[in-house]
Each structure stands twice: as structure tokens, then as C-alpha cells.
């Protein structure tokens, strides 16, 4: 019988789409969950690194003799040996493993390293001269593109707006810092506990780095304290802990970053700045786009933000330059490039709408066809968001004219993301005693992966979630993929749905004779296997499984596979309501509304948490976060959590989430949801601030100083005019 893999219709779902508690919630909230940072292995050593204080330098001399003589120091390892070039401050030069942390820190202090300093650049504020950029080592032209006829489109435009916008470099600031524990049970085997969002990929990366067969590297992780894109790849520290352990005769070596290097070197989201010119007809029809943008992604470059974002402006001319500088490694950061692109697009368009004396909501609706292929979704979402925010009833033209220093305003933005399920494999076993086991090499980075997997299997087999034994987080289980790009829930849900369906069908074949039926007549529901048309002819799940005799059933499920169970491409709309104190410059979020589609929702409770979390992150980067660099020393000035501030509980206001689901959405299959809602807050909040105070604060984060500066500038320009 050919299997038609199709998600059950809404009225057929029992657990899929239901509000279930997070299955790993209890172990986490009781403090019993063990993260990599928490593990204490027998005879474990502690490692720390000597950090290069310069943004760009060559190592000329290393003297480790004093450290080596210290009691308790077990291994000393050069990471960037004499002659090596260092590209950002905080880079490890030498690592030390010792019997305890205080000793490791003492040893680090006892090591003397000398450097030849090289010229560095850590800032990106200066607009690169395009003709210079082509010759300079600090700049790389990443994009030069023209489509349509922008020159004549601007001539036809009745209203043209020009502006300057930007977002800073921000850092991931995972609460569990990057790091790992490596040990060699014997010289042919390496065992690694690592804080990662890529359990399946680490062995190959590490094997390559230390020239050792990946198949002999066992990687395990139960829980990870955040990643957000910065824990997709192996780090130099991961390599160092393995090498230190080898030097130390195989003893476990734990090497976790302190907060300061975590903020300096564990990853950042590139900045983006742009001069943007947009043109439209008086009725709001958007005609033309021109942009010159730049941003820094460190020495590796940072890609270029896809602008104009979401909008298919018919006539465009754009250029982008990468600022190649010594700021630390750029890494994927929840929806890479999109938040920047959204700010660089939605802010100038909001300014254009203001110049047209149009409500931005109407401006978007007027140009809805330019949002192809998701015009319909955006349009529906805008209407839902309008209701939840009361936008149409409450919107006012730019500049809150009410008395008093505190001004209120509304802003909106749109975003998109792919989110198709990744390559995923699972082994699902039904044992004759009725127990069910699912094994896969994926990881739960906080998305609720475990919960989603169990919801799918439980729904398909008709047994409670707590009757299923789920094993993940190990590279000895069937190979899965990294949790990145919002690809996990689609991938694992599809693989497990196929495996559970296959296993169930095999079970039905064994059980059918006992029920005097054909396998195709059976269904699994309510903890029983029964004849679909006659529920009196049934066996309990346990009795049914007993018919397997001595042999378990193991079904392998994979994604991609038969049937369209996952899809890609979502749209989202967010609206922000803010208050701005024009005397202090302080921005307060009153309310945010997030309307998001993501196809079929497996775990609504966790999916909502994803959206809420993304919106809160968005508030955080809109108001507070910025990697502040000092050009003279080349170092980060705010590498601690008082100066690199995250949004706190009192900063987020009222948050409303609406997931688009049901007919028209569910049929598309499961689509990932982590990244998209992170994208819009920057632009939505910036637009709300502009609506409140009547002027644009051109750069994120919207700090009191920047707000006051924008107000003062507008005032002095007003006085001149």
C-alpha cells in the first residue's frame, strides 16, 4: 500500500495543534537540567585562554615557562603561535588547563606574549567613498545593481524622500557562554560535550580541525543555553579543549568562555547603514528606489542586506560596500541580514508616507501588489494587526500634538523568511511491550523541539506523549541537521510523522488478523488500536503491541520525503505603540502586536513563545543593544552585562501575538517561525518613535541621547527655516 503522507485535517488532530506544556519545562524550571556548562566530569581540568589585547596584531613572542612551572597546571597549548596574525581583540593566543579554575586563571596571567601591532579599523560610521572603496583594503564592494529605469522613475515621482538610516553591530550574548568539555577515553576516541545548536555537524568540523576521523568523535548535549545563530559552527575553543585534553592524557578539559570574551568574540550581527532615496506618485504609488549602503561584518564581511526588503520596487539602483574591519566574527544572528534590511527599507518608506500625508497602513495597502508573492497574506495580516492594535482608530499624523512632554506614536513593519524543514532523520521503534522510542540527532535549543516531536508521534500513534521515550542530542543517533534558519520544527516534524505513520502501518499489519479486519481498516486513537468503523473491535495499545511477538518495529523517517509536509516562505506584520519622553529622550514600549503565519502549527504554545521571544529580542536591540568599539584601542567598551544591556521584564510592555492558522494556512505544511518575528521590531519601533515625536531618529538603538539629538536637530532646522 503506497502511503499518502498528509497532515491530518483539523478535525482529525488530537495532539497536533493543542496547547501542551513544554516537555522539558519541569527539568529546566527545577534547575535539574544539565547544560554543558553544568557538567563536572571525574578528574576534570579547567581551561582558560590568554587573550590578545589588540584588534589586529602579529604574535612575536610567547613565554609560557612561568605558567608551566605552576603547581596544578597540567597542559599549555599555543592556539595562535608566534607568527600568527590576530584579527580582533579577545582572540585566544595560548590556552592553559589546570586542576581548578583559580589556578587556570593564575596561569593565564603568568604567560607573557609579545605582539607586533598592525593597523586596525573597528568603526563603520564613515561613509565609504565608492571610488576609494574599490581600492581600499578596508572596503569591499559587495553589490552594484540597477533594475528598471530609476532615473526616469525619479523624474516621474511627485514626492521624493531622501534619508540616512542605520543599525549597529550587536552581539548574541547567549546566557550560556560558548564552550565545551572534551575527553579522550582512549587515543582512538574523543568524547565531547558542547554547547551547540549543531550536534550533528560538530564531529566533522572538529575532525577536520584536529585531523582525526569524525566517526570516532562522540558528541553529546542535553540542553543548550541559547545560540541564536552563534553556536552553529565549531569554535577555536572547541578545538583547543580537545587538544588540551589530549595533552593532559585524555582527562576531561572544560573550556567555557567568560562573559567578556563571549561578548567580544563569540559572534555578532553586522551593522548596516544606508543613504536611501525613494519616490512615489502623489496618490502613494511607489515608483523608485535608490540606495547606497554599507556595514561591517568583521574581516569575513557580512553579506549585504536584501534591500529594498520585501518590496518589489519597480525601478531600483543600489550599491553595497562591506566594511572589512576588526570587530569580531559576524555570525548568523536570528534572521541574518533581515532586521537590518527591514530598518533600511521600512523606515524610509514610512518617512515617504509621512511626506505624502498618508497613514503608513494605507501606503502599504496602496502598494500591496509590490509585496508579491505574499500580498494576500500581508493584507490579511495587516487587517488582523489593525484590530489587535486599534491602529485605524488611534493613528495620528506625525508628531503627537497633545500637550505635555510625553508623546505617543504608532509604527508598523513587514517581514518575511523561508523556514523550510531541514534534512532530518529519525528512528522510531515500537516494542512488543508497548513502549515507543524515538531517536534522532537533533537538539532542542529552546524552540520546543522535544515537545513538537512528541506531539506529532503521540497524535499519529494515538498514545499519550509521556508514553514515548525521546532521545536526542547525540551524534550517534540518526543524523539530523543544525538548528538554524527556522528549519528544525519542519524537519523533525515531517521525519517523525513519516516514521510514525510507517511504524503504525506495520503494527496494523500484525494486529489486523486478531481484530478480524484488514490493516487499512484500522486506526490508532485513544490508546487503542481499533477498527475505524466499529470501535467495539479494539485492542489496547499494549495488547496490540504484544502481537509483535519477539520483534520490535523500527521505522526510519526522513525529511525531505514523500508528501508535502513542510514548506517555506512566510509573511509577518508587527505594530508598535510607544511613548517618548521628549525631555529625557526615553522610549517606552506600551504595546506590540505580532501577526505571523507559519503554516501548520504543531505546538501553538511554544510557537507563540517563539514569536514573543523574537519580539522581546527586537525590543532589546531597538532600544539598548550596541557593540560599542573604541577606534584607538580597537577593543569593545561595553563587554559586560551592565553596559551591554538587554531588555528586562519591565521594558517590554504589553505583547500580543496572533498566529495565522486554519484554512489557507494549514495546507502549506509546517514552516519554521524562529527568525521572522525578530525582523520587524527595529523598523516598527523606530517608525512609532517618528510618529510620536515628528522626527526620525535615524539609528538604532533608540537611546535617549539619539532621541534628544534628533529633536534638537529638528528644532534648530525649524528655527533656521
Amino acid at each position: 500500500m503506497a502511503t499518502d503522507y498528509k497532515w491530518p485535517a483539523a478535525d482529525q488532530r488530537t495532539v497536533i495543534g493543542k496547547r501542551m506544556n513544554r516537555v522539558d519545562g519541569p527539568v529546566k524550571s527545577s534547575g535539574r537540567a544539565k547544560y554543558t556548562y553544568d557538567l563536572v566530569r571525574p578528574n576534570m581540568l579547567y581551561a582558560h585562554g590568554v587573550k590578545c589585547p589588540y584588534a589586529h596584531a602579529k604574535v612575536t613572542k610567547i613565554d609560557t615557562s612561568a605558567a608551566e612551572k605552576m603547581p596544578g597546571v597540567v597542559a599549555v597549548l599555543p592556539i595562535n603561535d608566534v607568527g600568527k596574525e590576530i584579527f580582533w581583540a579577545g582572540t585566544d593566543v595560548v590556552a592553559v588547563a589546570a586542576v581548578d579554575e583559580p589556578t587556570a586563571r593564575d596561569a593565564v596571567r603568568a604567560i607573557k606574549v609579545e605582539y607586533e601591532q598592525l593597523p586596525h579599523l573597528v568603526l563603520d560610521e564613515k561613509e565609504p567613498d565608492l571610488s576609494e572603496a574599490e581600492k581600499s583594503e578596508w572596503y569591499k564592494v559587495a553589490l552594484k545593481e540597477t533594475s528598471g529605469d530609476p532615473t526616469s522613475a525619479f523624474q516621474q515621482s511627485e514626492v521624493v524622500h531622501e534619508g540616512y538610516y542605520g543599525t549597529p553591530v550587536i552581539t548574541h550574548c547567549c546566557l550560556e557562554t560558548h564552550g565545551s568539555i572534551s575527553e579522550w577515553p582512549d587515543s582512538d576516541h574523543l568524547f565531547v560535550h558542547i554547547s551547540t545548536q549543531n550536534v550533528p555537524g560538530i564531529a566533522e568540523q572538529l575532525g577536520k580541525a584536529i585531523d582525526f576521523p569524525a566517526s570516532n568523535i562522540h558528541v553529546h548535549q542535553d540542553h543548550v543555553g541559547g545560540g541564536f545563530g552563534s553556536k552553529l559552527g565549531l569554535d577555536p575553543w572547541g578545538v583547543a579543549s580537545a587538544q588540551l585534553s589530549k595533552k593532559a592524557g585524555g582527562k576531561p578539559v572544560k573550556m567555557m568562555l567568560d562573559r567578556k570574551p563571549e561578548l567580544e568574540t563569540a559572534g555578532c550581527r553586522p551593522s548596516a547603514r544606508a543613504r536611501v532615496k525613494v519616490g512615489a506618485k502623489k496618490d502613494g504609488t511607489l515608483l523608485a528606489w535608490e540606495s547606497y549602503s554599507w556595514g561591517t561584518g568583521g574581516v569575513g564581511g557580512g553579506g549585504s542586506p536584501p534591500i529594498p526588503y520585501v518590496w518589489k520596487v519597480p525601478n531600483q539602483q543600489k550599491q553595497h560596500v562591506n566594511v572589512v574591519n576588526n570587530i569580531g566574527p559576524s555570525r548568523a544572528w536570528r534572521a541574518p541580514n533581515h532586521p537590518q534590511a527591514c530598518v533600511l527599507t521600512m523606515c524610509p518608506l514610512d518617512d515617504l508616507a509621512a511626506k505624502l500625508n498618508m497613514d503608513t497602513f494605507d501606503f502599504v495597502k496602496k502598494n500591496i501588489d509590490l509585496l508579491d508573492p505574499r500580498s494576500k497574506i500581508y493584507s490579511e495580516e495587516l487587517d488582523v494587526a489593525d484590530k489587535l492594535m486599534g491602529w485605524k482608530a488611534r493613528w495620528h499624523p506625525r508628531g503627537d500634538k497633545t500637550a505635555g512632554p510625553v508623546k505617543q506614536g504608532l509604527g508598523l513593519a513587514l517581514h518575511t523568511w523561508g523556514g523550510r524543514g531541514h534534512n532530518s532523520n529519525t528512528d522510531l521503534t515500537i516494542h512488543p511491550d508497548g513502549s515507543v522510542e524515538v531517536k534522532m540527532g537533533t537538539q532542542d535549543i529552546g524552540t520546543g523541539t522535544r515537545t513538537s516531536i512528541l506531539q506529532v508521534v503521540s497524535d499519529t500513534l494515538g498514545i499519550p506523549m509521556d508514553q514515548i521515550n525521546l532521545l536526542i542530542g547525540d551524534n550517534q543517533y540518526p543524523r539530523d541537521s543544525a538548528s538554524g534558519g527556522s528549519s528544525t520544527i519542519g524537519g523533525v516534524s515531517s521525519a517523525n510523522f513519516r516514521a510514525a505513520t510507517d511504524a503504525k502501518n506495520q503494527l496494523f499489519a500484525k494486529v489486523a488478523p486478531a481484530l478480524n479486519a484488514q490493516p487499512g481498516d484500522l486506526e490508532a486513537a485513544d490508546g487503542r488500536v481499533r477498527v475505524a468503523s466499529d470501535h467495539n473491535r479494539s485492542l489496547s495499545w499494549k495488547e496490540a503491541c504484544a502481537k509483535l511477538g519477539a520483534t520490535s518495529i523500527t521505522a526510519h523517517g526522513t525529511n525531505p520525503g514523500e508528501g508535502d509536509l513542510t514548506n517555506s516562505g512566510v509573511g509577518g506584520v508587527q505594530m508598535a505603540d510607544v511613548s517618548v519622553d521628549t525631555e529625557t529622550g526615553i522610549v517606552k514600549i506600551n504595546k506590540m502586536v505580532g501577526v505571523q503565519d507559519c503554516g501548520l502549527v504543531i505546538s501553538p504554545k511554544q510557537a507563540e513563545s517563539q514569536v514573543l521571544g523574537a519580539m522581546i529580542m527586537g525590543i532589546s536591540y531597538s532600544l539598548y543593544e550596541e557593540k560599542v568599539m573604541d577606534q584607538t584601542t580597537g577593543t569593545m567598551l561595553n563587554s559586560n552585562m551592565d553596559m551591554y544591556r538587554l531588555a528586562g521584564l519591565g521594558d517590554v510592555g504589553e505583547l500580543v501575538v496572533h498566529l495565522m492558522s486554519g484554512p489557507g494556512y494549514d495546507e502549506r505544511g509546517v514552516i519554521g517561525i524562529g527568525e521572522p518575528p525578530t525582523v520587524s521590531p527595529g523598523a516598527a519601533i523606530s517608525n512609532a518613535v517618528a510618529n510620536a515625536i515628528g522626527v526620525r531618529v535615524p539609528f538604532l538603538p533608540l537611546t535617549p541621547e539619539r532621541v534628544l539629538e534628533a529633536l534638537e536637530k529638528a528644532e534648530s532646522e525649524g528655527a533656521k527655516a
Binding site: 513544554r22 562573559r259 529552546g446 504554545k605
Partner: protein, 208 residues
């Protein structure tokens, strides 16, 4: 400052410091606290080197030889494997290491292990017996007030300490009371819901 003037401190003047007499002397590897008599009062001086430390954690007496500079957080985590409290900022800024010490919420990273002796320390791990959930932890689960969960144990302790003290807290109190804890994944909506549930205000969102 003259030689005679007292420095601010627990009854030790610079002058009298010269007159103190050592009652015990050191053993070579692990040192007990040196007990000094200062103006008739006993003062414990720890280090240099390791010294025996005994902590009362979740109702258990735990002992280890630790350097005096070791924080309560590191002693709990690395010596006693009590890992509910997390090391995140390690300098009293994030709340991830929050524990209760004699019924008060403290940042374990900002207390020395030697100074925590003789106090009742409770961590999230010790709130409820294995297999059971404390109502605060349970409210976090019900309201999905956790994603990666790394900030959660600290938040649970801060919430417990806060609600113990302010059972009828307002929203503004809550913002202040839990303002010393940070979450990177963005679970504040769930946390507000959990607090509302615990303080009888009903759930703000979610609910199984």
C-alpha cells in the same frame, strides 16, 4: 590619617592590628582559618591557600577545601555539583545565579563561599524533592516562561523570594522586583503570566 586613627572595619584598628596574637598556625596544603584574637575578639582569617569550607545547601551539609577567593556560585557548581544557579555575568548583573540565603535572594556570584558558611542556602534544585515541582517552578512550566531555560532557575528563585515578601505585588513592584534578572530568549511574557498565576491574578497567556 594618623597612625592612631582607626580604620573603618569590624573593630580592628591599625594600631591594635599590630598587637594581635595568632592562636593557631598553618598546615602546609590545606589551611583552616587562622583564628586571630583582636582586642579580645576572635577573628577568622582565611588563606592564603585552600581552607576547609562547609556549606548548608538545600538542607545538606557539604564540605570542601577551597581557596578563599572561590565564590559561592563556583563552590556550588564545581565542587558540589549543585548547578541550578548558573554563571552568566559573574559580577552581580544578570540574576542567573540567584539563590536564597537565610530567606533572602542573593547573587551567588557575588558572595564568597567562606562567607556563606553557617547560612541556609536554597537553590532551585532544592525547592522541591526530586520528581515533584515547586509551585513557582510549576507556574513557569504552565506559562511556558522558559525557552532555552538557562535563565530560568535564577528567575524561579528571584520570583520565589519576591512573592514571599510581596504576596500582593503590583505590576510595577514586579518590574522592579524581577528587574535584576535577564533572559536572552525573551520569556518575560510567560514570566509575567507565571507571577500572575502565583499571586492569584490568573494567567496572562497560554495555559494548558
Amino acid at each position: 590619617m594618623s597612625d592612631q586613627e582607626d580604620v573603618k572595619g569590624p573593630g580592628i584598628s591599625r594600631r591594635s592590628f599590630l598587637k594581635i596574637s595568632a592562636l593557631t598556625t598553618s598546615a602546609p596544603l590545606v589551611l583552616g582559618p587562622t583564628v586571630l584574637e583582636v582586642e579580645g575578639q576572635e577573628v577568622h582569617v582565611y588563606g592564603p591557600g585552600k581552607t576547609p569550607v562547609t556549606l548548608n545547601v538545600n538542607g545538606r551539609r557539604l564540605s570542601a577545601n577551597l581557596e578563599p577567593r572561590v565564590t559561592l556560585l563556583d563552590a556550588l557548581r564545581e565542587k558540589f555539583e549543585v548547578t541550578g544557579p548558573k554563571r552568566v555575568c559573574d559580577r552581580g548583573l544578570c540574576g542567573a545565579c540567584t539563590v536564597m540565603m537565610d530567606n533572602k535572594a542573593v547573587y551567588a556570584c557575588s558572595v564568597l563561599a567562606i562567607d556563606a558558611q553557617g547560612k541556609q542556602i536554597v537553590t532551585t534544585d532544592g525547592l522541591a524533592p526530586e520528581g515533584k515541582l515547586h509551585p513557582v517552578s510549576a507556574a513557569f512550566v504552565d506559562n511556558d516562561a522558559q525557552q532555552c531555560g538557562f535563565c530560568t532557575p535564577g528567575f524561579v528563585m528571584a520570583t520565589k523570594a519576591f512573592l514571599d515578601k510581596h504576596p500582593n505585588a503590583t505590576k510595577e513592584d514586579l518590574h522592579r522586583g524581577l528587574g535584576g534578572n535577564f533572559c536572552r530568549c525573551g520569556t518575560y511574557a510567560g514570566i509575567k503570566g507565571a507571577v500572575a498565576q502565583l499571586s492569584g491574578g490568573g494567567q496572562q497567556k497560554g495555559g494548558a
